[in-house]
C-alpha cells in the first residue's frame, strides 16, 4: 500500500511546523508497518501529549491520544488485554522521559511487547521550547536562556540500564535506518526502545542559533556515526547509531496469559 493509505488524509497538511522532524518519523514508521505487511486493524498506536503525540490523530490505526507522560501505562493495559495486537507508542522526549520516565523504566523492566519510539528533539516543543531531560548540558531553551545546567540522559544507556531487551538509535537524516530499525523493533517480542533524533527547528534550532531543519539534519549527519565505526574511534564525541541490544527474553503480556495455569 502507499503511505497515504495509512493516514487520515483529511487532517493534512498536518499541524507540525515546516521542517519538523516528527513528520519524517511518522512517514518512515508507516513505511516500516507497510513493509511488514501488517493489517491496519491489528495496530494500536498510543501517544501522550506533545507535538510528537499529535501523531495519533494522523495515523489510520486504532489510535489513543492520552495524557502527558502516561502513554506507556495506557498501552500496557491494551497489550495485556490483547496480546495479539501490535502496540506502538511514539513519544516526545519530555513525554517519555521527563513526566513519563517512571512508566518508561517499568515497561522496560517488565519487557512487555510494546515498541516505544522516542521522537527526541531535546526540547518541549508543544509548550514552546523549554529544556527537556535530553537537552544537552549548556544548550539553550526558554527556561534556560543561558544554557541548561541539567545533564541530559543518554537514552540508550538509560534503556539498557533498566533492562530493555531491544535498544536502538537513529536520526531523521537516516530515514531508511528509521524504518529498518523499526521493523526489527516491532517484530521483536519484548520492550523495544527506538530513539529517533528528530529536529525541532522552531524552538531548539532557533534558541540555539542552529538554523533550520536542513542545518539540524546536517548536524545529525555529521555528529552521528554507526555503532563501532572507525569514525567513532577517532572522535569519541560522536553519537552512535544502530541497534545496541536485541535479546530474546520472556515477554510480559505472554506471561500474563499463563498465570491462571500456573496457579492451578
Amino acid at each position: 500500500m502507499s503511505v497515504k493509505d495509512y493516514i487520515r488524509q483529511r487532517f493534512f497538511p498536518h499541524i507540525w511546523c515546516a521542517g519538523c522532524g516528527h513528520g519524517i518519523v511518522m512517514s518512515n514508521m508507516i513505511r516500516a508497518i507497510d513493509q511488514l505487511g501488517m493489517a491496519k486493524n491489528e495496530v494500536v498506536v498510543v501517544s501522550g501529549i506533545g507535538c510528537s503525540s499529535r501523531i495519533t490523530g494522523y495515523l489510520d490505526f486504532h489510535t489513543l491520544h492520552t495524557i502527558h507522560g502516561r502513554a506507556l501505562a495506557f498501552a500496557t493495559g491494551v497489550k495485556i488485554s490483547r496480546p495479539d495486537l501490535t502496540v506502538l507508542v511514539p513519544m516526545g522526549d519530555g513525554d517519555a522521559l521527563s513526566i513519563g520516565g517512571n512508566h518508561f523504566i517499568h515497561a522496560a523492566r517488565r519487557n512487555i511487547d510494546i515498541t516505544a519510539i522516542i521522537m527526541n528533539n531535546s526540547i518541549y516543543g508543544m509548550t514552546g521550547g523549554q529544556h527537556s531531560p535530553t537537552t544537552p548540558f549548556g544548550m539553550k531553551a526558554t527556561t534556560a536562556t543561558c544554557g541548561t545546567i541539567d545533564n541530559e540522559f543518554d537514552i540508550v544507556n538509560l534503556a539498557l540500564g533498566v533492562g530493555a531487551s531491544f535498544v536502538a538509535r537513529t536520526t531523521t537524516y537516516h530515514p531508511k535506518e528509521v524504518s529498518d530499525i523499526l521493523k526489527k523493533a516491532i517484530v521483536h517480542k519484548g520492550f523495544s526502545v527506538v530513539e529517533v533524533m528528530s529536529q525541532c527547528p522552531t524552538y531548539y534550532g532557533r534558541k540555539n542559533n542552529m538554523g533550520y531543519a536542513v542545518d539540524l539534519m546536517t548536524y545529525y549527519k555529521e555528529k552521528t556515526t554507526p555503532m563501532g565505526s572507525k569514525r567513532k574511534q577517532e572522535d569519541p564525541k560522536l553519537i552512535e547509531r544502530g541497534i545496541f541490544m536485541e535479546e530474546s527474553r520472556p515477554e510480559y503480556a505472554h506471561l500474563c496469559t499463563l498465570t491462571d495455569q500456573r496457579q492451578t
Binding site: F11, T63, G77, I80, S81, L85, H106, T264
Partner: protein
C-alpha cells in the same frame, strides 16, 4: 453457579461483586486500607480468565485500566486517599473520553498520609470535584456487605451504560468487616454488558455520537472500526476540535448524562421514615451506627427514622428534599466535617433544620455519639 451463602470481608465482597459483573482486567498499587482487594484479585482474577497487574503507581494503574477498557474489557482499580489524589488526572481523562471503569476508593483519615488505618469519610467531595475542569461523576457507597455486593455490580452497570468512570467509595470499617453475603446465582442480578456498535465494517462509526436513548455504542480496539480517542475536546469521531459549539455540546453532554439522572438512578434505603419526626441521613459505615441508634430509639418510643444514601453523586437532591419535608430535625451522620450535610442543607427547603452528627478523628462514630448530638439538637443537652 447457584446462589451461595458466604461469610466475607468487605474487600472480598467487592471482588465477588466485580467477578459477578464480569471483571476482566484489574490494575492496582497497594495502599492501606484497600490493599486486600489487589491481593485477593491477584489470585482470583487469573483463575476467572482475567488479567491482574500490579503497576508502578496509582497513575499507571488507572491509565492501564483505561487502555484495557478500550479493548472491550470490564475494568477496575482500587486505592485509598493518597492514591485517589494521584488518580485524579486519569479520572478526568476517563470522563472526557467516556471510558467505562470502576474505581474503588477505601477512605482513610486525611489529608495527606493522615491515619492510614483509621476510619473516615473525608473523600466524598473529592470524589465529586477532584479532577480539574467542569465534569460530573457517579459515586456509590454501601453500609453492609450484601448491599456492597449489589452496588459493586451496579457500579459496573452504570459504567457500561453511561460510558463513565464510577467511583465506589468505601470506608475502612466496611472494607474490613466480615459478615454474611448471599452470592446469587448468575443471572439473578442484571449485569449490563458492553454495548457494541452494530455499524458494520466499512460503514462510518462515530464513537461519540449518542443514540436516541443517549447511549454511545463502543467498538473495541483491535476490532473492525478504527477511530481516535483523546482527552482533548473532540467531535463525534473522536478527533480534536477547537470549535466552541463542539466544546459546548460535549461538556453539556458529559454533565447532563449524569446530573439529569440524579434522582431517577438514585440508590437509597429507608428505615422507619414514614412517621419519623426526626430524620437521620447517613451512608457507609456511619449508617450502621445510625441504624443501630434508630432501632434503639424506636424501642424507646422515639420517632426517629433513617435515610441511607447509596448514591452520593450525582446527589439525589429532589429525593432528599422530599424526604426532609416536614421533619422536626434532619441529622446528617458522617465521618467528616459535613460534606454531605452541606448537600442536604442545599437540597432541603428548610436548611436551618439540618444538623450534623459527626466524628473525624479516626474513631468510628458510635450510636452513643449520634444519640448525644440528637439530644442536643432536640434541646435536651447530651
Amino acid at each position: 453457579m447457584e446462589s451461595t451463602v458466604k461469610f466475607l470481608q468487605g474487600s472480598e465482597t467487592v471482588v465477588e461483586g466485580a467477578l459477578y459483573a464480569g471483571l476482566q482486567f484489574y490494575a492496582g498499587y497497594p495502599i492501606t486500607p484497600s490493599t486486600e482487594i489487589s491481593e485477593i484479585l491477584s489470585e482470583r482474577l487469573p483463575l476467572a480468565g482475567g488479567k491482574f497487574i500490579q503497576m508502578e503507581d496509582e497513575i499507571a494503574s488507572i491509565c492501564s485500566i483505561i487502555g484495557s477498557s478500550l479493548t472491550g474489557s470490564k475494568v477496575m482499580t482500587a486505592t485509598s486517599g493518597p492514591g485517589f489524589s494521584l488518580m485524579q488526572e486519569g479520572i478526568g481523562y476517563a470522563i472526557m473520553a467516556e471510558i467505562p471503569l470502576v474505581l474503588v476508593n477505601v477512605q482513610r483519615v486525611g489529608p495527606s498520609t493522615g491515619a492510614p488505618t483509621a476510619v473516615a469519610q473525608g473523600d466524598v467531595m473529592q470524589a465529586r470535584w477532584g479532577t480539574h475542569g467542569e465534569h460530573a461523576i457517579f459515586c456509590l457507597t454501601a453500609s453492609n456487605l450484601q448491599d456492597l455486593f449489589r452496588l459493586t455490580i451496579e457500579a459496573f452497570n452504570l459504567a457500561e451504560t453511561y460510558r463513565s468512570p464510577v467511583i465506589l467509595i468505601l470506608d475502612e470499617i466496611v472494607a474490613h468487616m466480615r459478615e454474611k453475603v448471599i452470592v446469587p446465582e448468575a443471572g439473578e442480578i442484571e449485569v449490563v454488558e458492553r454495548l457494541h456498535t452494530s455499524v458494520p465494517e466499512g460503514t462510518e462509526y462515530h464513537p461519540y455520537l449518542p443514540r436516541e436513548d443517549g447511549r454511545l455504542p463502543m467498538s473495541d480496539f483491535g476490532g473492525k472500526h478504527r477511530y481516535n480517542v483523546t482527552g482533548l475536546i473532540h467531535d463525534m469521531w473522536g478527533f480534536p476540535s477547537n470549535d466552541s459549539k463542539v466544546a459546548y455540546d460535549l461538556l453539556r453532554h458529559l454533565v447532563d448524562k449524569i446530573e439529569h439522572r440524579a434522582d431517577s438512578l438514585a440508590q437509597y434505603k429507608e428505615y422507619f421514615t414514614d412517621d419519623a419526626e426526626d430524620l437521620l441521613i447517613s451512608y457507609g459505615s456511619s449508617a450502621r451506627s445510625a441504624l443501630h441508634m434508630v432501632e434503639r430509639c424506636r424501642q424507646r418510643g422515639m420517632s426517629v427514622g433513617l435515610l441511607e444514601l447509596q448514591s452520593l453523586w450525582p446527589f439525589p437532591k429532589e429525593t432528599v428534599k422530599s424526604k426532609c419535608e416536614g421533619r422536626n430535625h434532619v441529622l446528617v451522620v458522617e465521618m467528616n466535617t459535613g460534606q454531605i450535610s452541606k448537600e442536604v442543607s442545599q437540597a432541603s427547603s428548610e436548611p436551618d433544620k439540618v444538623y450534623l452528627a459527626n466524628r473525624f478523628d479516626g474513631a468510628f462514630i458510635s450510636p452513643e455519639d449520634i444519640m448525644q448530638i440528637l439530644n442536643t439538637v432536640q434541646g435536651k443537652g447530651i
